[in-house]
Symmetry: C2
Subunit: 404 residues, 2 copies
Amino acid sequence: MLPSPDEKPFMKHSVIVPGFKFSGISSGIKKTKKKDLALIYSENTAAIAGIFTANKIKAAPVKLDITRIRRSGKARAVIINSGNANACTGRRGIKDAHDIAQITARELRSAPHLVYVASTGLIGRPLPLIKIKKAIPESVRKLSSRSIRHAASAIMTTDTFTKIDVKKILISGKTGTIAGIAKGAGMMCPHLATMLCFIVTDIAVERRALNAALREAAEKSFNSLTIDNDMSTNDTVLLLSNGFLKNKPITKNSFFYKKFENALAEVSYNLSKMIAMDAEGATKLVKVRVRRAKTTSDAEKASRAIASSLLVKTALYGENPNWGRIMAAIGYSGAHIQEDKIAIYINNFKVVNKGTGARKTPKHLFQKNEIVITADLGIGEKEADMLTCDLSEKYVKINAGYMT
Amino acid sequence: MLPSPDEKPFMKHSVIVPGFKFSGISSGIKKTKKKDLALIYSENTAAIAGIFTANKIKAAPVKLDITRIRRSGKARAVIINSGNANACTGRRGIKDAHDIAQITARELRSAPHLVYVASTGLIGRPLPLIKIKKAIPESVRKLSSRSIRHAASAIMTTDTFTKIDVKKILISGKTGTIAGIAKGAGMMCPHLATMLCFIVTDIAVERRALNAALREAAEKSFNSLTIDNDMSTNDTVLLLSNGFLKNKPITKNSFFYKKFENALAEVSYNLSKMIAMDAEGATKLVKVRVRRAKTTSDAEKASRAIASSLLVKTALYGENPNWGRIMAAIGYSGAHIQEDKIAIYINNFKVVNKGTGARKTPKHLFQKNEIVITADLGIGEKEADMLTCDLSEKYVKINAGYMT
């Protein structure tokens, strides 16, 4: 297991975002009595943007949120349960998601259509609605501006550590905050694990700008981590902006738009990195970079193929710098290539030159917690990056037992 | 580990194909001193057809064979080494493959362009040519019509049992033989393992018919096992017909064409099945069937997604009949679907009806050596099948250590 980022200087103090409150409690969905119900609440009506799974089979809460964002783009609260995905649950699942939003709204004295719902866990079983209903008043009572960590903990499934990141930026002389929590686990590439991420900010951002910034940020983070087609039924990223900073709302043409977008991308990237680090059974964080591809699509194909190759992933785990498997992945990726133009670097050490072994590959190249694999296709100017992890026996053990 | 098909009634007697001789010896490429050099020899000039990897990075022997088949379509011998793939070895690799063919031809007193070469094993290291050169005379000396099993054993890498199949058919009152050997291992889906397969027959088949029959047979067997884009650098299927049966050569319009093609497909399918059974660490043989898809491409996408899903594979290994993972795979497969039309069966037991859980899923459903998963998409008439296996910790262990 990689060292938890809690031990890193990511997060030292408790995270406060003006106008937002959080709670995380146990409602009894998880038999272990671990926290399984998170609530995020904005003291006023926030603007909301969202990104959802591309899976054609979408969980009930995802369907609900998509409709609500499209209709109003406004939010007061997000209620999230772990332990049950409320996916493939038919009409009952839709009704359950609505009911949860309704009851939460009542307790918060908010309009029901301003409450969003997310779920993660086992697919195909009806939610234990009675337990959740009973627990909602407690989750409202426990709301506190200092409880983001409890919310982060309540959305976890097989995650081994809470994932929180925060970034402060100056907007017109005032310090705004962007804070996010996420859960991932599963092996991110090549296959599905539910990724949930909730980001809140007190910076006022106009709805369209909020949406654009989230999409930009995701492109540089979540989308280089999970791949569209491989998404779970429940993947959800929500971004809420409540404007407590009282700045002039940022639009796409504002001077501060780029600054906001960059800060949001940084928070998203850090959360993505934590997700990759905590992937089930992972022992290494791996960055795959493809350079000098003919087209961006070629670069993406090659980087995805390398990052998704089980043989590359097991070689990383076995600390076996087997570049042949990287070459083979590039070859079947579908990217345009010229074999004798390819160079491959492992942490800046050239292992392949002109398509063949550069020199004797030192055994220690994969003996690190963080590995960078760079494939230089040598026939163009386009590039793409992917974040991934290695594949260990533990991944199999976890997933042979766990009911997703 | 699945029971080896040696214990099944697949192969009881030694396999003889008139006019063909075989050998399998140790040349010292493998440090374990296991057999690593196989030779297949036809007493006269045979017609040859081949199918090769779609990987853009092709091993040197693959490049050589493609050229030779295109030029003459004739063969006297195939020499195969295991333990080294001769891939990503640049010009030297090409020269080495040529040299091996040349020396083998000299020893056999054949024309060099009638000798084909195949390799499997570690990518990126030059072949130990001196060892192979030294061993060729012995491999020629040991040629025998009864030694197909030795050849089958010499092409193995991480395979745990030899893969041989044979089928006899009546052609104009005479009994013709089709026999094949194969090696696979690796986890067949979703990723690369070198698949080598050599099929020989004494039935005379005209070159174009031979080629067509091989492609048809592969469609129903190897192609539903490995996926084009995921092929290794070395995948090779060669089919040799020497006409020793002295039948009127079969053409595409012959009465016997279909019979030949079916028998060839049967041998190919049986070898594919053995490859799936022997996939690294596999404990179950899994057939994925998609029915009532809108298009054949949809059916193929859905069956590949299910068969390639690590979460489905680990659930199979854990004997955890987690149909939610099957639904999720269908959802991200890219196939056109309607969630509420989908039904899923595990070994004829309906677990999903109209997109949601049909009834309580008995735990024992995955507690078998052979599992059939059927996904009925309910919106069309097209279908597709895939053969695959489960994913165990052993797969990771093998591939973390093995240098492919």
